[in-house]
Symmetry: C2
Subunit: 449 residues, 2 copies
Amino acid sequence: MAKRRKDAGLESGAIQGQVTDQPVATTQKKTTRVALLGFGTVGSSVAHLLRRQKFAGIELIQIYNRDVARKQASERSKKLSSSIAWTENVDDVLNGDADVIIETVGGIDPMERWIKKALSAGKHVVTANKQLIAYRGVSLGKLARQHGVSLVYNAAVAGGVPVIPAVLHGLQGDRVERVAGILNGTCNFILSHMEAGADYHDVLAKAQEAGYAEADPSADVDGYDARAKLCILARTAMQVGIDPDEIETQTISRVRLVDFHYARELNCTIRQIAQVQIEEGGVRARVGPTLVPNTSPIAWSHGTQNLVMTTGEFGGDVVFSGHGAGGNPTAVAVVSDLLAVAHGSASVSLPVKQKPVTGEFLAPHYLRFVVQDKPGIVSAIAGALAKVGANIDSIVQRPGYPKDALPFVVTTEPCLTSTIESAVRAIAKMPTMLEEPLCMQMLTDEAAE
Amino acid sequence: MAKRRKDAGLESGAIQGQVTDQPVATTQKKTTRVALLGFGTVGSSVAHLLRRQKFAGIELIQIYNRDVARKQASERSKKLSSSIAWTENVDDVLNGDADVIIETVGGIDPMERWIKKALSAGKHVVTANKQLIAYRGVSLGKLARQHGVSLVYNAAVAGGVPVIPAVLHGLQGDRVERVAGILNGTCNFILSHMEAGADYHDVLAKAQEAGYAEADPSADVDGYDARAKLCILARTAMQVGIDPDEIETQTISRVRLVDFHYARELNCTIRQIAQVQIEEGGVRARVGPTLVPNTSPIAWSHGTQNLVMTTGEFGGDVVFSGHGAGGNPTAVAVVSDLLAVAHGSASVSLPVKQKPVTGEFLAPHYLRFVVQDKPGIVSAIAGALAKVGANIDSIVQRPGYPKDALPFVVTTEPCLTSTIESAVRAIAKMPTMLEEPLCMQMLTDEAAE
C-alpha cells in the first residue's frame, strides 16, 4: 500500500475537519477536470448543481450519453457551458482528459467494464451505482488502489443523506453492531400511503405515475434494491463483506390494508426494513416488511424519505434521515464526493472481512391469517405454534370483518425466523385457510429505540 | 497553502470513501503516538475505548491530569497499559513524543495556550472543546495550517452524532441555508420531562443529581452552550463565521407547565432550539425556547438526545440524531477524529466569511400572559399588538385556571422578533399583568418539516 494517491488537481490547505478564513481559490494549483457518464435525472442534476454552485477549481469538460442531440435539446443542457464536449462514444471519455469520471448510468454491465477502464487509465471515479458497488465494490476498490486513484460512492446509499461519509469519518471509533433502516423510497412511499388508508395497487400505480416506481416494481417491492444498499452499509459501517444474493428478502406486495389496521392495534406501523447485525453467532441480515413500534425513530420516516439507524457498542443509536432519492439530493452526494476527491480529503481505507450471512432473527413475529371462521381454528393454530415451541404473545381479532373471510392476527414471543416459518407452512395447509398466511418480523422497542 | 500536512504516522492505502479487503495493519508504516489531556468523563472514556478497540497503529503514551494518584486509583485507569506515562505537568505532554494530542479538559484558559503550544510543536490536536473552537477556532486553525498539522473538533458539537463529519464530507456539494436543532442535552432532558408533566425546578434538580446539569445551570438553560455549538455548525455547514456573543439567547427557565398545556392545544411541544439561517438580508441566529410542531422531526428528540436538521437548497432537509453527550458517545467522536488524523484522511479546508448576525426572525409568536381576569384585557392586548402591526392568529384560554391568576395565550401571525418584543414590553406594563409575559418563537410546519 505504499502507492500514493494521485493528485486529483487541487492541492488543499488540508487542515482536516477545519475551516479557514481564506478563499479556497488561493489553495488551488490546477483545475480538476470532470467528465459525466449519463445525462438522465441524476446526471443532469449534477451538471445543474455544478453550474449553479461554481466551485472554484472544478470544470465539467465532457458529457457522455446516447442520443446527444435529444439531451442537448433539454432545458438544463441549454444553460450549460458551450465548452463542454458532448459525445455518444464512451471511449472519448475513458481515453480523455478528465481527472475524475462521474458515473450516473447505473447497472453492472457495461459500467463495470467502463469503470475498470477509467480506473486503469488513472482516473478517479465517483459513482451513484449501488448494484455495481454492492456486487463489485471490493474488486473495483483493489483496482483503484493499484492505480493510485479513488473510487467513491457515497451517493449509492440513501441519496442525499450523508450516511456513508458520516460512518466513515465520524463512527470509525465505535464498533457498529447493527444497521437498520429504510433504504428504498418507493416502498416507503407505498407503505406510508397505505398507513394513511390507500390500497396497495392504487398507490403502486400512483408511484409509477409519479416516476418513483418502475413499470416492473420488483427491484423495489421485493427488496433487491434495499439489499444492495444494505451490503454497502455493512461494508462501510461494520467492515463486513456480504454477498447481496445471500441476504433473505421478503416482498411487501402481500401487505394489505388490514395489516395496517392490526399493526395500529399493536401500536406499530409497517415499513420495508433492511437490517444487518453482528452477533457472536455470526451476521444476520434481511430485507422485508416489518412491524415497527410507533415509538421508534424508524417509524418517523414518511413519503419517499430514507432513514438509517446505526447502533454502536459505545455511541449507541444514531439516526440519519432525509431524501433518499431524486435528482438534486443524489447530485449533492455525487458533487460532495467530487469535491472530496478534488481536495484530496476523505481517504479512508478499511479492512473488510467477507462473512456468511443468515436470515435468522430471534424476534417476535406477526402472523395474519384469513380463514373461514369455524370453531377450533385458534386451537389448531395454537397447536401448530406450540409444536415448534413458539409462544403466542397476543391474538387480535378486530370486529367488522365477514365471517367467511375473516382476517385475524397472532403475535408470538421472540422465536427464530426458521421456526416460525415452519409453523406457518404447516398452518397454511389447514383447510380453513383461505390464503397463504402473512408472516412479518416485529422490531421490538428495545431494538428499535 | 503549499505547506504539506505532517504525516501523523500511518501511511494509508488512501482510497477515499472505500473499503479494502486488506487489514489496516498492512498499510501501516509507524505507530501514531497519542497523549491525553484530561482524565474526566470524556478523557477516561477515550482511554477505555482505545483499550477496548485496539486500533492497529494507535498507541496511548501519556495522560495528563491534576492529582494523578486519585485518577490512577479509578477502575478504568487500572485496566490501562502500565506503559502509559501519567503526569501532572502539562509540559511533559506539550514537549513530549506524542504525534496527536487529545484535549478533553474544556474551557478557553489555559487550553488556548496549551493547544497553541502543541500545534506550534508540530502536534495534531483533537479536541472536544466547544467554547474554545467557537471563540478561537479560526485563529487556532490558522496556526495549525502554519505548522502543517490538523486541528479537529468533531466531538465539540452533538457528541456522538457525527454531524460535523457529515456536513464536511457529505453536504459540501449543497448550499446549506439553514441549520436548526437541539444542541443541549440538559435542556432537552428538562423540557421533555416537562412535556411529560414534571415541574421545571424538580426536573432541574433531578438533572443536577444525575450529573446532566451543573450546580449553576446557566450555561445550559440560558443558551450559552448551544450558542457556541451553533457557531461551529454555521462555520462548518455554511462557511459563515459568527461571533458567539452576538447570537441572541433566551433562557428556558421561564417556561412553565402551563406553556406545555397550551403548546399541546396548538399541536406543538417546546424545545430549546438553536437556529441559524442565511437570507438575502443577512444571517439570522438565535437560541431559546421555541414551539415546535409535533409533526416536525425536531419534536422527535427526547431525553438528553441531540438533533440537528440541515436544510440545503439542493438536497433539502437532512436530520441527524443521537446521543449528544456522555463519556462513551463523545469518545466515539474523539477517537473517530484521531483515526482520521492517523490515516491522513478527511482534510477539509473551507473558506469562511465573517458575518454580522441578527436575532430577528420573521415568525409566528406565542405570547403567554398571566392576568387578574377583568373585562377589557383581551381588547387591550389586541390593541397593543395592532399598534405594532402584529396580527393575532389565535387566542387560547384553557378552562380550570383561577380567575385571579389566569394564564392565557395569544399566537400571532408571522412578525419580526423586535416588533413583537416591543408590543410585549408595552403589554407588560398593563396593571392587570401579574407577571412578565412569556414570548416564544414558533417554528412553522414549513420551516420545521
